[in-house]
Point group: C2
Chain length 286, copies 2
């Protein structure tokens, strides 16, 4: 496995592969790999000649007071894990190379960026859209692989690809969960053992909404109230619970199949997110 | 010469040329070609295997009340002119294809977009940065050719290319002028004969600044006052007269070689712009 840190070298490597007619797959990550990341890499491996994994804790998608500084990092572990699943290139640029002095250009997606996590994290999706644009230009992938746990991110990236005419196929893969249903996240590493137990409230709340919807409850207010009860019982502080159109992220009064149920909640100091598609998931916490 | 209107067809045509190892040059334009446009096409022709000229009056770079609707258009004349200088592909997308319903993504350059023309035309450079990004993705040029008359545009595009890691070489070509010094512009077609004569005040003001600077005058206030006098004498209403750093567009108190002298003024209802680089131009109105 090659490790490339210099953006110019990454660009040259990808361009050479393209010229040779090879198919390139890119998995953009912030590292601290778990099975969710690895599932993306395995899919990319199965579908491409060259698999590039970018590992970059992107400062522009963190707000003031967020966890950029303490975001978990494990360079050696990530390197071993990526190598083990057959990644060809691990791209590890520095923030100084990605955002040198004088840097001034940002990609913004109106509307989709301003709801759910975007409303709570101003500038977050601007940072995501910008870094993904940069990574696409440097790595020139045929396909890019993202996880569905970051559902809004996937919707924003899809919009960027369509609107800016990027020649990239977007692949969104299912959320990978622990045995008790908790969605895998690098941020789970922040949780104490006791918080880890309480954190299952997010997936239990989503499963509750699925169950009620399957039983005929369509009122968004009722579905949200039932979810809030479960989160409150686990002492998880709700950041938001929303049921929205799965494509446009527009709010609903009456839920329909295909709608997104999204939750963000603090368990202790740690902010966790999870989501499900009404009628579209097997979501039984085990 | 091929004429391609469909963005998908343009993308396929450019990708095929790239795969064949051909060098692509792009000249982005809003049409109504004059000798300035043609000079860009000729340079592109000399340096590339495939020359693409985009002709798109981009709605997102016009503000409310600006001249989008009446911007001059001459499809047949442009086609003949492009063909005559050996252009391979004339790309003429529709606004509906470039900005379909649901379009939401914009490229913004902070700082550089907010001074000079950007201060008077909010959103203008956002529209420019966005459409140039889209054209680069569709046409995949090795080099893109712009005129120096739109100096700030060139600085903004350069910033976008650098910041977003576009693999495009930027070529900025000299302003082409009429015999009396007036910078060629599609908008000159708005001028009456009487206004056309008065419009030379812009280049005469720039030449005055060059002359005073060459004679030792460094005070920006004095240089600007001398320019304002010439514009006022021609009854040209000043939108701005500025002397700024040629790279950062930051204002100066004392002028230095390499600084940009930029003017925007209304002659009748028509807003015209022009510029010169201190110590860097032969700028004698003839």
């Amino acid at each position: 496995m090659e490790i490339i840190s210099d953006p110019g070298a990454m660009r040259a490597r990808a361009a050479a592969a393209r010229r040779a007619g090879q198919r390139l797959g890119l998995v953009p990550t912030m590292g601290y790999f778990h099975e969710g990341h690895l599932s993306l890499m395995r899919r990319a491996r199965a579908e491409n000649d060259v698999v590039i994994v970018s590992l970059f804790v992107n400062p522009t998608q963190f707000g003031p007071g967020e966890d950029f500084e303490r975001y978990p990092r494990d360079a050696a572990g990530d390197e071993a894990a990526a190598k083990a699943v057959g990644v060809d290139v691990l791209f590890t640029p520095s923030a100084a190379d990605m955002y040198p002095p004088g840097y001034a250009t940002f990609v913004e997606v109106a509307g989709l960026s301003d709801v759910l996590c975007g409303a709570r994290r101003p500038g977050h999706f601007r940072g995501v859209a910008t870094v993904v644009t940069k990574l696409f230009q440097l790595c020139r992938p045929d396909a890019a692989y993202f996880g569905r746990k970051d559902y809004q991110q996937a919707v924003v990236v899809k919009r960027v690809i369509t609107d800016l005419n990027f020649d990239v196929r977007l692949e969104i893969l299912p959320t990978v969960r622990d045995a008790d249903g908790l969605a895998l996240s690098s941020r789970n590493s922040y949780l104490t053992a006791e918080e880890r137990t309480r954190a299952t409230a997010l997936v239990r709340a989503l499963a509750k909404a699925q169950g009620l919807f399957a039983a005929g409850e369509k009122r968004v207010s009722a579905l949200k109230a039932a979810m809030a009860d479960i989160l409150a019982a686990a002492d998880a502080r709700v950041d938001y619970v929303e049921i929205v159109d799965g494509d446009t992220l527009a709010p609903r009064d009456a839920a329909r199949p295909g709608d997104l149920v999204a939750v963000a909640a603090y368990v202790g100091r740690t902010r966790l997110i999870d989501n499900t598609i009404l009628g579209g998931d097997e979501l039984e916490p085990r």
